[in-house]
Amino acid sequence: MVTATARRAWDVLETVPDPEIPVLSVVDLGIVRAVEEYDGGRGVTVTLTPTYSGCPATEVIARDVRTALEASYDEVEVRTQLSPAWTTEWMTDAGREKLRGYGIAPPAGRTTLPLIDVSGAPAACPRCGSDAVEELAGFGSTPCKALWRCTTCREPFDYFKTH
């Protein structure tokens, strides 16, 4: 929950990028679950939820969040919360637009537990906007991505998978 008193912390978090996709902040990504100031703003506790089980960026993100907040607070505590697990539903609309502008097709479709539709496809090529796209590989350069290709402009592109 965003409270007026924690606004300062949220403003800092907006500037902490995802190390793998630096166009997204940790807030855009939707992994910041809670921010609480204590001792009248002397310290802050941030709760993060990892994106993927084995994502190497998770530990880097926790370190970057701590470093960024230490400039504004005397004490910083970064906690990890696994449940409820992160889902691409938590990515902000602004984050989706930033992804598209960066050349990565944002996640399409909705996820539900326990079943998931893993046949999801990007709505359009992030470069030319054509919906004539095809999958090249179900896994990509990071755990969040698959490799697709536009059959109109012929460019390959990353797709941020629904998760």
Partner: protein, 225 residues
């Protein structure tokens, strides 16, 4: 005394850890660049799942690097060598179908901790992508060329005796249709199967795997990046 729940979680954690290490052996050796990346991603997911569970059971490094082979509780299937690509994909199909039952069962179990639940919530979705990959490959290889069909049938016949620790009615119901679509001949459900690893018996292969996986941590105990 180890509680039944901990025993069960250790089986899942060790299964994911050992299989992850096996898949990592393909790195830079897979048939195509895309497959190299896919196997690396799947290995990473499994490693993360294993870590998440091991962290709830004790010191993850102690458990991963300083136990002996007879203390591991992974199903034997997970430790079997990669063989050719058909063996790797058939082994993955079997394991993915197992985990497809493991994770939802944990989600439905009110006795597990919030952290175990968090691992399972994430893993359910990762597993769905893994199954999509392994089942697509088994179908493509089985229903492919004469050679790929022969090799995939050989992989199925070789791995079938290792299903005993992971197979259930739901497992058969998931695996058999994929094998049929792959035009493979599925052995009988009641055919002979390996004994359980729950008492610490393993194949000869696990020791060699652990020797490699654990060597760095044992040479430099307590080392950090």
């Amino acid at each position: 005394m180890v509680s039944p729940t901990s025993e069960r979680l250790l089986t899942y954690a060790d299964g994911a850890l050992v299989l992850s290490h096996r898949l990592s052996e393909w790195m830079s050796n897979a048939p195509t660049m895309e497959e190299d990346i896919a196997l690396g991603n799947i290995a990473l997911d499994l490693l993360g799942q294993a870590r998440g569970l091991l962290q709830t059971l004790g010191d993850e490094d102690q458990l991963a690097y300083f136990r002996e082979a007879h203390e591991f509780r992974n199903p034997l299937l997970c430790e079997l060598p990669n063989g050719d690509f058909a063996v790797t994909m058939m082994r993955q199909l079997f394991a993915d179908a197992w985990f497809a039952e493991v994770w939802p069962a944990l989600l439905a179990d009110d006795s597990v901790s919030a952290d175990v639940r968090g691992v399972a919530e994430k893993a359910v979705k990762e597993n769905a992508y893994h199954w999509r990959h392994s089942s697509a490959w088994v179908v493509r290889l089985g229903d492919g060329t004469e050679e790929s069909h022969r090799r995939t049938q050989e992989a199925l016949d070789a791995l079938w005796p290792y299903r005993g620790e992971i197979a259930s009615d739901a497992w058969y119901a998931k695996v058999e249709p994929a094998l049929a679509e792959a035009t493979l001949t599925t052995p009988a459900r009641d055919a002979w199967t390996q004994r359980s690893s729950a008492d610490g018996w393993h194949t000869e292969h696990l020791g060699y795997l652990l020797a490699e996986m654990q060597s760095l941590a044992r040479a430099h105990p307590g080392a950090t990046w």
